[in-house]
C-alpha cells in the first residue's frame, strides 16, 4: 500500500509519479541479481517469495538506482570468487563503499523486516513491511527470547535464564517478591556460594 511506503513526500519533485514507479516495480519480479546478492549477504535461503518481492518492490521504489546497485553487488560477489560473506568482507572488494552500502541496505531489509528509515520525529515515513517472523534479527537468539506475540514458555518461564547461560556469581533465581534486600542478597549469595 502506498501509505505504508510513505513515498509521496519523499519522491516529490523527482518528476516521477509514485504510482507509476510502484506499478513498474511490481510488474518486474525480483531480479536474479537481487536474489543472489540477498542470499549471499544474509547467509539465509530467503524462501519466502512474498517477503522477497516486498523488499524488492520497496527498495526499488525508494531508490531508482537500487536494481543497478544490486546487480553490481551480485557481479562483484561472483567475480571475487569468495564462498561466503565472511570471506567477502575480508577480501579487497569490500573496500568499495558503494557495494557495502548496498549490502547494508539489503541486510537491513531482511534482518529488521522492513525497508526505509523511520523518522526520529513525526508519523509519516518511508518504511515498508517485509516480514515479521521471518526477520533474521530473531535468528541469533531464537533459543533464548521469543519473537514477540509468540510465547513459548508458560507463566514465569522468565524466572530462569536461558539454557547455557553461564552461572554468574550471585543469587539463584528467586520467584517471589519479598522485598529486595533479603530476597536476592542472602549472605550465601553475597559470599558467592551459589
Amino acid at each position: 500500500m502506498l501509505a505504508g511506503i510513505g513515498g509521496v513526500a519523499f519522491l516529490a519533485g523527482s518528476g516521477f509519479s509514485v504510482d507509476a514507479l510502484l506499478a513498474q516495480a511490481q510488474a518486474a519480479k525480483p531480479s536474479g541479481a537481487f536474489l543472489h546478492a540477498s542470499r549471499f549477504v544474509t547467509s539465509a535461503p530467503l524462501t519466502d517469495d512474498v517477503a522477497v518481492m516486498r523488499a524488492w518492490t520497496q527498495l526499488s521504489t525508494l531508490d531508482r538506482e537500487f536494481p543497478r546497485a544490486a546487480e553490481r553487488l551480485s557481479a562483484a560477489i561472483t567475480s571475487s570468487g569468495v564462498q561466503d560473506m565472511a570471506a567477502f568482507l575480508a577480501a579487497s572488494v569490500s573496500k568499495d563503499e558503494a557495494l557495502l552500502a548496498t549490502a547494508r541496505t539489503i541486510t537491513a531489509a531482511f534482518y529488521l523486516g522492513f525497508t526505509g528509515r523511520p523518522p526520529s520525529e513525526g508519523h509519516k515515513d518511508t518504511t515498508g513491511f517485509v516480514t515479521f517472523t521471518g526477520a533474521l534479527m530473531w535468528r541469533p537468539t531464537i533459543d533464548a527470547t521469543v519473537i514477540p506475540t509468540y510465547a513459548r514458555g508458560g507463566t514465569n518461564f522468565w524466572v530462569n535464564p536461558p539454557a547455557g547461560t553461564p552461572v554468574p556469581r550471585g543469587p539463584r533465581s528467586i520467584p517471589e517478591w519479598q522485598g529486595s534486600a533479603h530476597s536476592s542478597n542472602s549472605a550465601a549469595d553475597r559470599a558467592g556460594k551459589v
Binding site: 523486516g113 527470547t145 521469543v146 550471585g170 543469587p171
Partner: protein, 529 residues
C-alpha cells in the same frame, strides 16, 4: 409531568475509565448509554496489524486512525506550540488507549496527594489517600492487578507501604532473570528495587488467561492477559448499558440551574443526534475531555479547563552489562528503582522513577549494529552477544501544574466531522530540569555497578503518555475544574472521569487512580439518580 430522558446517565468515552464507570452504574440498575467515537475492533485483527507493521516501535500503528476519529498518529490532529512536542499515544476505539498501555497500576502515596503541604510545591489534592483507598482496592479487583504485598513502594526501604485494606487480588509474577541480576548487583549500592504492580494476570481471571510472556504488551497483548478497557465495555453491555460506536460527542448542552441537559454527537456519515440524561460523565481522554468542555463553554468559570497539563516527562538510557542478563523474557516492563520517588528532595527537584524496560532487544540491537556497518556472520554473533547483555532504563520525572501548559481546540483546523483538532502548548519546567542531573548520576552508577558499557543517554525530553492536570481537581472553584468527587464545580450533574483531574502527578502511571476515581464517581451518581 415528569421529564423523560434517554438514559439516567450518559458516559462519553469507552476507555478504561468510562467503561468502568458505565459498568458500575449499569450494575447498580441505572440506564446507561456509553458513547464511543471509534469502532469495536476484534483483538485478532489488531494482533495481525501489529505483526504486519513496518514500524513496530510506533504503538499506534496497528490501530484505526480514521479522519473522523483521529488519533495522535495523524500529524494533522495535534499542533504543538511550546518548546516540547507533547504528543502522547492515544487511541479511539472501544476500550480506548489501554489497548496499548503497559498496564502498570500503582497507587499514589499519601504524600503525593498532599504535595504542597508536605513539600511546599505544586498542589494538594482535596481528598486524601485514606479517602480513596477503598476505591483503589475495587479498581485493582476490576483490573486484575498483580502485586507484592510486602514492599515499601515509596522506595525508601521501609515496611510495606502505602497501607492497604486487603492484599492484592493476584500474586506478583516471578522476577525476570534480568531483574534478579540487576538487583543482586545494584541493591548493595543502596538502590531499592520495587516490583511494579500491573494488570497482567498471573492466573486466569475474569475470562482472561495468565500472562505467558508474549512480550508484546505494547502495542497489543495477543491473548488478553493484559487488561484493556474493552473488557469493561463488554461487561457494561452485559450489565445492560447501551454502547453506541461511531458517536463523537461534540457538544454538552447547558440548561437551567447550572445543569447539563443533553449531549450532541455526530457519526461518520454526518448524522447529528441529541441525547438527554439526568447525569453526564465525560471520560473522553485527558486531551479530548477538556476540548469537549471548551467547545461547549462548560465547566470553565475558573478558566482552568485545558490548563495545568502534565505528563511524566522522561529520559532514557541504554547500556551493555558485563554478563548475560537476557532481557526480553516475560512482559515488556517489570519494576524498577524507586529511591527518589519520595523524600525531602521534592522541595528542590522532581521525584524520579527509574523503570527497567524489558522488550526483546533484537530490533534495537540489530539496527544499531547494521548502522555501525557490522555485516555477515559477525552481525549474528554481535546480535546474540549484545541482546544478551542489553539493559534499558526508562526514567520519568514528576511535573508540576502550570496554567501556561495547556490544550485547546484548534482555532482553525477541523477533522472530517468538522470538529476542531487540538493545539497543545507544553514547556518542561525547572523542577524537572533540576532533577535531570540526579537521574543521570544514577545512570552512571548503574552502569558502573554492572561493569557495563554506556550506549546512550537520551538527549532532550521524552513523552510518557500520562496526561494529568488538564481538568484539574481542587477544593477552590476559582482555581480548579472539579471537586474531590470529580464533579464539576459549575454543573451538579456533570462528572469528569479522566486522569486529567489529577492535580499532583507524582511519578507513577495514573490509570489505576483514574479507574478508582471513576468507580467512585459511579457510586456517587448511583446514590443521587
Amino acid at each position: 409531568m415528569a421529564e423523560t430522558y434517554d438514559a439516567d446517565v450518559i458516559v462519553v468515552g469507552s476507555g478504561a475509565l468510562g467503561s468502568n464507570a458505565a459498568y458500575e452504574l449499569a450494575k447498580a440498575g441505572k440506564s446507561v448509554i456509553l458513547l464511543e467515537a471509534g469502532l469495536r475492533i476484534p483483538r485478532w485483527k489488531i494482533v495481525q496489524n501489529s505483526r504486519n507493521s513496518s514500524r513496530r516501535s510506533d504503538y499506534n500503528r496497528p490501530y484505526p486512525d480514521a479522519e473522523w476519529a483521529m488519533t495522535t498518529e495523524s500529524e494533522e490532529y495535534l499542533e504543538n506550540t511550546g518548546s516540547f512536542a507533547l504528543r502522547p499515544g492515544m487511541l479511539k476505539l472501544v476500550g480506548g488507549t489501554t489497548w496499548h498501555w503497559a498496564a502498570a497500576t500503582w497507587r499514589y502515596l499519601p504524600a503525593d496527594m498532599k504535595l504542597k503541604s508536605t513539600y511546599g510545591v505544586g498542589r494538594d489534592w482535596p481528598i486524601s489517600y485514606d479517602d480513596l483507598e477503598p476505591w483503589y482496592q475495587r479498581a485493582e479487583e476490576a483490573l486484575g492487578v498483580v502485586g507484592s504485598d510486602e514492599q515499601d513502594q515509596s522506595g525508601q526501604g521501609g515496611p510495606a507501604f502505602p497501607p492497604r485494606s486487603k492484599p492484592y487480588p493476584l500474586p506478583p509474577e516471578g522476577k525476570t532473570y534480568m531483574f534478579q541480576r540487576l538487583e543482586a548487583r545494584l541493591s548493595p549500592l543502596g538502590f531499592n528495587f520495587i516490583h511494579e504492580p500491573n494488570a497482567r494476570v498471573t492466573k486466569p481471571y475474569d475470562g482472561r488467561p495468565a500472562c505467558a510472556g508474549n512480550n508484546n504488551c505494547m502495542p497489543v497483548c495477543p491473548i488478553g492477559a493484559m487488561y484493556s478497557g474493552g473488557f469493561h465495555a463488554d461487561h457494561a453491555e452485559a450489565a445492560g448499558a447501551k454502547l453506541l460506536t461511531d458517536a463523537t460527542a461534540y457538544k454538552l448542552e447547558k440548561g437551567a440551574n447550572g445543569k447539563i441537559v443533553a449531549v450532541h454527537y455526530r457519526t461518520s456519515k454526518g448524522e447529528d443526534v441529541r441525547l438527554t440524561a439526568r447525569y453526564f460523565v465525560v471520560a473522553a481522554h485527558g486531551l479530548e475531555t477538556p476540548k469537549l468542555l471548551l467547545m461547549s463553554d462548560v465547566a470553565n468559570s475558573s478558566d482552568q479547563v485545558g490548563r495545568n497539563l502534565m505528563d511524566h516527562t522522561g529520559i532514557g538510557m541504554h547500556f551493555l552489562a558485563d554478563e548475560e542478563v537476557w532481557g526480553g523474557r516475560g512482559a515488556v516492563q517489570q519494576g524498577g528503582i524507586f529511591n527518589r520517588r519520595d523524600g525531602e528532595h521534592r522541595r528542590e527537584y522532581a521525584a524520579i522513577k527509574h523503570a527497567i524496560a524489558n522488550p526483546v532487544p533484537n530490533p534495537e540491537v540489530a539496527k544499531r549494529l547494521i548502522d555501525q556497518g557490522v555485516l555477515g556472520p559477525e552481525l549474528d554473533r554481535r546480535i546474540r552477544d549484545e541482546a544478551s547483555r542489553w539493559v534499558e532504563f526508562s526514567t520519568v520525572f514528576e511535573m508540576l501544574p502550570h496554567p501556561t501548559n495547556r490544550v485547546q481546540p484548534h482555532p482553525t483546523k477541523r477533522d472530517a466531522l468538522g470538529i476542531p483538532t487540538l493545539t497543545v502548548h507544553y514547556d518542561v519546567d525547572d523542577y524537572v530540569a533540576a532533577a535531570r542531573p540526579h537521574a543521570e548520576a544514577d545512570f552512571h552508577t548503574f552502569v558502573k555497578g554492572m561493569n557495563g558499557q554506556l550506549i546512550d543517554i537520551s538527549e532532550g525530553w521524552q513523552n510518557r503518555d500520562h496526561l494529568m492536570g488538564s481538568v484539574i481537581m481542587g477544593a477552590d472553584p476559582k482555581d480548579s475544574v472539579v471537586d474531590g468527587d470529580c464533579r464539576t464545580h459549575d454543573h451538579d450533574n456533570l462528572f469528569l472521569a479522566t486522569t486529567g483531574v489529577i492535580p499532583a502527578s507524582g511519578v507513577i502511571n495514573p490509570t489505576l487512580t483514574g479507574v478508582a476515581l471513576s468507580i467512585r464517581i459511579a457510586d456517587t451518581i448511583a446514590k443521587e439518580v
